[in-house]
């Protein structure tokens, strides 16, 4: 059924390396998303009408535009506009961070606005500054809700990185295709085994992380 191909030569190592590429891009994007998301989320709670309008448009774009489309816009569009090539890796980090920041910011905004107003008022009554209120009162309250949600974002990011093969990055799925192609004659059934293994690899990368997120969510809420 094609499983024998996996252990031929360096094939399995190559698959793992492919997965590594995907994981690396996810990790970089997640870190950028969390940092930017915290800041953008706080800005979104401001009552300024311009900020409100801009953040609504930003969130709506991310809500309805497939990441694949965004990837195409950045990867092909940027080159077209500037005449300079942008690497596929950089394109994907830009797009995934753009998407992840919106997701994260919306979570942060949701958490912040769910804190009762009286918490801000009582902090003010105690003489805490706005910054002190955030650092000592508000953030400790939302952090327990944010951590599981951020961990969840990691798994979603990993799954989304499967798209990068479509702009030519050699990640696990692409490696899989190459292996099948190279062994077409000797193992005509390799597609089943190879894609089953890729499926499993993604599952093994995401499942423990989403279990951890679920566990923390149950424990902390």
């Amino acid at each position: 059924m094609g499983f024998e191909v996996i252990f031929k030569g360096k094939n399995f190592i190559r698959l793992l390396e492919g997965l590594g590429v995907a994981l690396k891009i996810s990790l970089v994007s997640v870190i950028i998303s969390i940092v930017l998301g915290m800041i953008v989320g706080m800005i979104m709670t401001l009552k300024n009408p311009v900020i409100r309008a801009v953040s609504r448009i930003y969130l709506e774009i991310v809500r309805i535009m497939p990441q694949m489309v965004l990837l195409f816009i950045v990867f092909f569009g940027f080159t077209k506009m500037t005449g300079r090539n942008i690497s596929a890796e950089l394109s994907s980090v830009i797009v995934f961070s753009f998407w992840g920041t919106a997701e994260m910011a919306d979570l942060v905004r949701g958490c912040l606005t769910s804190i009762p107003k009286i918490q801000y008022e009582s902090s003010k009554a105690l003489g805490l500054s706005r910054l002190q209120t955030y650092v000592y009162v508000i953030i400790p309250q939302i952090i327990r809700r944010l951590i599981p949600l951020s961990i969840n974002l990691i798994t979603r990011m990993i799954k989304t990185t499967s798209l990068i093969m479509m702009i030519g990055i050699v990640e696990v799925l692409k490696v899989g295709q190459q292996i099948i192609e190279a062994n077409r004659k000797s193992s005509p059934h390799a597609a089943f085994g190879v894609f089953a293994v890729v499926f499993l690899l993604y599952f093994l990368a995401c499942w423990p992380i989403s279990r951890l997120a679920g566990y923390l969510e149950r424990k902390w809420t």
């Binding site: 535009m65 195409f72 569009g77 989304t160 479509m166 190879v194 993604y202 599952f203």
Partner: protein, 224 residues
Amino acid sequence: MDTGVITSYIPIFAKAFLLTLKIGWIGVALAFVTGIAGAFTLYFKIPLLSAAVKCYVELFRNTPLLVQLFFIYYGLPVLGFKISAEVCGAVGLGLLGGSYMTESIRSGLDAVPKIQMESAASLGLSRSQTFMSVILPQAFTISVPGLVANVIFLLKETSVFSAISLMDLMFTAKDLIGLYYNTTESLFLLVLFYIAMLLPVSFAGSVIEKKMRSKMFGGRDDGI
């Protein structure tokens, strides 16, 4: 941007749009059916089937659609299951979506307080009457935001269909960019058609959510 190019591309994109829309919504419908079946199985703790549903949900929620499609489209024919790209797209979307819908509906069912069941039992309602008249409508209302998010998510996921050579919007854009280098025009139309596909859904979803929320959790009226 060249308007002439855009006008000449519109029919090509429109054709791809209809195909994407059709397969997308068939997938969504399949996802709903699968999700309802899965959630009921978990809620009523049907032995064996429950365990199978749990495995299915974990597997499909923790893997990308692209990988699922590759496995179904290129892997399964080895075992003798050969299906067309269109069927594969719809089935793949239905399976992925089914796992998300199962979760959303199940958590809606779990969110209905147990005492509502007791309240119905105190009025003499049977178990099936309680489920149909009391639990299900409330669970559905609670699930609506999750279900709407799932529908939008699934329709967005149609963008990977091109990988199994389905001639969808993405495929068309990529094809035209590759052939004629009209990158700007192609990307413009790609975005436009995805907006046409998802903005109405996003808008309708917000309206439904608001309606549902104000009905069940809404504020008091002025009569008090």
